[in-house]
């Protein structure tokens, strides 16, 4: 994979490989696995239905995976969303939406970056 492309979309390749016990091949296949991961789709559905407990669960999952794959930008924004939802008993859409949009943008950038890095091996 082209690591400079990953770096531009907020994915720290070197840290990720270290986390995967220096197994670069497994790390890269896990990044590709992320392309098929249904977590963000669950977030979209929850957001569309203003189902904030489901949104929290999906954002929490996304944060966990993003952290373990060293997708630092996505991790930062998904963490901000989970922290807000956890601390707020009655979330308001005008507060949730900007946080959600940040996650969405970071997610789609990361997806595009992984695809581009894969195609430019």
């Amino acid at each position: 994979m082209k690591t400079d492309i990953l770096s531009k979309v907020g994915i720290d390749y070197e840290k990720g490989v270290y986390r995967f016990m220096d197994d670069a091949s497994l790390y890269e296949s896990s990044l590709e696995m992320f392309l098929e991961d249904p977590t963000f789709s669950a977030m979209e559905t929850a957001m569309a239905h203003h189902h904030y407990s489901a949104l929290f669960e999906a954002a929490h999952s996304l944060k966990g995976v993003a952290g373990n794959l060293d997708m630092t930008t996505l991790y930062t924004f998904s963490r901000a969303l989970t922290e807000y939802l956890l601390a707020t008993p009655s979330p308001q859409e005008e507060d949730v939406a900007p946080l959600y949009n940040q996650v969405s943008e970071a997610y789609h950038r990361a997806i595009r970056g992984i695809r581009a890095a894969r195609e430019n091996k």
Binding site: M21, F34, D37, H60, G64, V65, N68, D70, E83, L86
Partner: protein, 243 residues
């Protein structure tokens, strides 16, 4: 090291990528098995009694980590099983709740591979020490009135740990000693005996004769106890013992 000698680690996480990462971290030193939710984990725990330690996610579909912790108390073989909660959740209240409900430790992601490896090993070691001290307490009465040498040993990853032994045990095997350390020769003799016990499986008692230093023939009887613990009785072959 062959697979059967490794400790068995159960990873419970609904996210495949997290399971892949944890498996990679532990697969060199453990036999790793996986469950994708709490219900699957409980099913495995009810069917297998060889799980050494469990890494448990908290937020999962079907049954979450708290559900697993609550139900484990009802499964006799799980009561002493060490559980490490692995979660992306940094919320202190949830972490404290997990600890109160039986988790030995909480580790938050992103995981540092060296730290999580070290913590699992430390908790496993502490659990083993606790079990050994419980076993010594439980079987202490057996030592009184025994004819010949008596010892309580545990087989761990192919090595023997001597938990307790009487003076006669050391006298028969070699010079009298004050430390609970087996020599290579003694460990080889006892390992061979225990291997025979393991191979036979249902055997409750076996007597074999082995030459220790070409001058003494001993009878060794091994009694399988629990959790790979054996009670050994060693006495000179010419000594008449009431069986």
């Amino acid at each position: 090291m062959s697979n059967e000698k490794k400790n068995v680690l159960l990873i419970v996480d609904d996210l495949q990528i997290n399971r892949v990462l944890l498996k990679r971290i532990f697969q060199d030193n453990y036999n790793v098995i996986e469950a994708s939710n709490g219900a699957e984990a409980l099913d495995i725990l009810q069917k297998r009694n060889d799980i050494s330690i469990m890494l448990l996610d908290l937020i999962m579909p079907v049954m979450d980590g708290f559900g697993v912790l609550n139900r484990m108390n009802a499964i006799p073989t799980c009561r002493d099983l060490p559980v490490i909660v692995v979660t992306a959740c940094g919320d202190a209240e949830m972490q404290i709740r997990a600890l109160k409900e039986g988790a030995a430790e909480v580790i938050t992601s992103p995981y540092n591979p060296q730290i999580i490896l070290h913590r699992v090993e430390t908790i496993l070691f502490k659990t083993l020490l606790t079990r050994e001290s419980n076993a010594v307490r439980r079987y202490c009465p057996i030592f009184s009135g025994i004819v010949g040498g008596a010892a309580l040993v545990r087989s761990v990853n192919g090595s023997l740990i001597l938990l307790r032994a009487n003076d006669e045990f050391f006298e028969i095997l070699g010079a009298g000693r004050e430390t609970l350390v087996l020599s290579e020769r003694e460990e080889a003799i006892l390992s061979a005996l225990l291997h025979e016990c393991d191979a036979i499986g249902k055997l409750q008692q076996k007597t074999v004769q082995r030459s220790i230093d070409n001058s003494i023939i001993v009878n060794i009887r091994a009694f399988p106890m629990e959790n790979s613990t054996y009670f050994l009785n060693i006495y000179p072959a010419d000594l008449q013992v009431i069986k």
